[in-house]
């Protein structure tokens, strides 16, 4: 009983400190870490206390995610003064992208029209234009918004005298066509070749791109001559399909032949929706970071699928950080590489690193440093996202075999 009372007091004390408004975010992180360590030493099986600590964590997280009052330009929502402030919301992105396989008009932008779904192209386009949900992507993932806007709707882009857009898709500038853009080219073709036809009907995917809109070089290894080719590329931009991710891993393994890529075979047929270019950019930065430690050549790739999420881990085995982790200033641990990864995966997945860190007092900490997590803000520069949040450290109790980059996707 005495022990229980003592624990209750300790818990109350921790709670009081954590809820104090005088503490900075970094100081709260420090208290939380010390509290976790204290409880771990006391009795690692004390589920009740750990549960209560989690409750405090959640409370703090809620406190920190309350958006500032409107008018200060930091809310980032629709009507915000700061249109380049984004909010990390990977769930929204994956829910939106899933609509491309559900029974929605979006599905028919990427699936062959194997049944006569629409009598005329205008009916299809009307259906598409009714769905305004993509607007929500504007303050969540700008590249994705721009891609969807280009492929399905009507981007604001200048055309030259021949009617060719100045800019192309966000990641693939040589692709300059979508369902409605430029100049309703595809729609006009469908009016002549698809609308109300019983015989000799041609479907939108059969549209041959005008020469001036055909990219000169292959895109993702293929020449693009028909609208079907364009659709195929779009699908690989929003989804890892079939062996796409596995092949990208293999490709990188062939470039880094002196490193051993363990476990990539398991990624065959891993199929999930995301902005693939963003995640592949992050993957390249991870590999560049890994190359900085030339002595540890084994990289373990693994994933775990749970009910609503997919966790992908990339671990450089037996590699541990040499940079100290200042628990009073966790952001100090992040270098250019980590920031680049964070920007690439912003609103696609949560990002953390797991390792054995050494703190400013030379104590070892087995922890997970949460870098990109729910609700944090980022700034869009027109090209990249820079994150605007303080990392959080939490104790990690499982075995640590090296330096792990963890990406958590929402399914």
């Amino acid at each position: 009983m005495i022990l229980m009372k003592e624990r209750k007091n300790k818990y109350d004390f921790i709670q009081e400190i954590l809820e104090s408004k005088k503490l900075t975010v970094a100081q709260r992180e420090r208290v939380l870490l010390l509290a976790a360590e204290e409880i771990k030493h006391e009795n690692s099986n004390d589920i009740d206390l750990l549960k209560r600590l989690k409750e405090i964590e959640e409370k703090i997280s809620q406190l920190e995610s309350v958006p500032p009052k409107s008018g200060d330009g930091e809310t980032g929502g629709s009507g915000s003064k700061n249109k380049n402030q984004l909010t990390h919301n990977p769930k929204l992105v994956s829910q939106y992208l899933k609509k491309f396989k559900e029974n929605t008009p979006l599905k028919w932008t990427t699936h062959t029209w194997d049944e006569k779904k629409y009598e005329t192209i205008d009916l299809f386009i009307e259906d598409l234009n009714e769905d305004k949900e993509y607007n929500k992507l504007f303050n969540v993932h700008r590249d994705m918004y721009n891609l969807i806007n280009y492929f399905i709707y009507q981007p604001k882009d200048e055309l030259n005298e021949k009617g060719i857009p100045k800019y192309g898709w966000p990641n693939l500038q040589d692709l300059k066509i979508g369902w409605q853009f430029p100049n309703h080219l595809l729609i006009n073709w469908c009016k002549e070749n698809f609308d109300n036809k019983e015989d000799n009907r041609k479907y939108p995917f059969q549209f041959n791109l005008p020469k001036e809109l055909q990219p000169q070089k292959p895109i993702k290894g293929k020449m693009i001559t028909t609208f079907e080719n364009v659709v195929d590329i779009f699908k690989t931009e929003i989804q890892f399909r079939e062996d796409y991710f596995y092949k990208e891993l293999k490709k990188r393994n062939s470039r880094l032949a002196d490193y051993k890529f363990e476990g990539i075979e398991n990624f065959k047929n891993l199929d999930f929706y995301t902005y693939t270019n963003g995640f592949l950019s992050a993957l390249d930065t991870v590999l560049n970071e890994i190359k900085k430690n030339e002595t540890e050549k084994n990289i373990l790739f693994s994933y775990e699928m749970q009910e609503n999420d997919l966790i992908i881990d990339i671990t450089q085995l037996n590699s541990f950080p040499t940079r100290k982790l200042n628990t009073n200033n966790l952001a100090h641990f992040l270098g250019g590489g980590m920031n680049a990864i964070s920007g690439s995966i912003f609103s696609l997945c949560d990002f953390s690193i797991i390792s054995k860190f050494t703190n400013e007092k030379n104590n070892e900490i087995s922890g997970e440093l949460l870098i990109v997590y729910d609700g944090i803000k980022g700034n869009w520069s027109g090209k990249d996202v820079s994150i605007n949040a303080v990392p959080r450290l939490q104790v990690y109790n499982k075995e640590i075999t090296g330096f792990t980059y963890r990406f958590k996707f929402y399914l």
Binding site: D114, D232, K235, E242, K251, L270, M305
Partner: protein, 206 residues
């Protein structure tokens, strides 16, 4: 049961199969094929997506409409097929390129319109009678010849290609063809004569 056939949009069968209702009735009459309908089909898809469907032990082949599956459901089926060496055919209107793999288990990804053809009924009959050699029979009767011709083209293209991405894709494809055809020689630029002999042999037998 040997074959589980999950199609949540059966109207497509009537649309594409050459003998329409007759073909559908024939498939339904096959005792070794279990093709659940309407609510039962939806229930099975839901169970697969929730990872709690119990596949029968006698299962040798699963045919499924890919778009009906969520990431988790697809993973569940893939793992089952990999562990139990059950063959898998995924069809969908969203699949633009046929992919075939026979490394861990036989797996075919195929567009719905290429799947529902005159080849489907003979394939099912042959599979049940254990006379089917590969899932590729669903895609192309002369699949061996077409892979050999493709390999010959790829070998020529690799030599001329400068784009690293294209080169990697071509080499990857050639590796796969080597796995699929499993000749006693490796198909590459040094063995084009051997490949030509094989091609000639098949063409003369047509």
């Amino acid at each position: 049961m040997k074959i589980l056939f999950v199609e949540d949009r059966p109207s497509r069968q009537l649309l594409f199969l050459p003998n329409k209702e007759k073909d559908v009735e024939h498939i339904r009459s096959l005792k070794s094929v279990y093709m659940p309908e309407s609510n039962e089909c939806k229930e099975i898809i839901a169970q697969i997506n929730q990872n709690n469907y119990n596949f029968e032990n006698s299962l040798k082949l699963i045919i499924v409409h890919k778009s009906a599956l969520e990431t988790r459901g697809l993973e569940y089926i893939n793992n089952f097929c990999k562990n139990e060496k059950v063959k898998l055919v995924c069809f969908s209107g969203g699949i633009s390129q046929l992919t075939y793999n026979n490394e861990d288990y036989e797996f075919l990804n195929i567009n719905s319109s290429d799947f529902y053809t005159e080849r489907l009924v003979p394939f099912l009959n042959g599979f049940i009678a254990e006379k089917s050699e590969t899932l590729l029979e669903l895609a192309n009767k002369e699949w061996k010849l077409s892979y050999m011709l493709l390999a010959r083209q790829i070998i020529g293209s690799i030599a001329l290609e400068n784009d690293e991405d294209v080169k990697f894709n071509l080499e990857d494809k050639l590796d796969k063809i080597n796995n699929i055809l499993s000749f006693d020689f490796t198909i590459n630029s040094e063995n084009t004569e051997k490949l030509n002999t094989e091609i000639k042999r098949i063409i003369l037998s047509l």
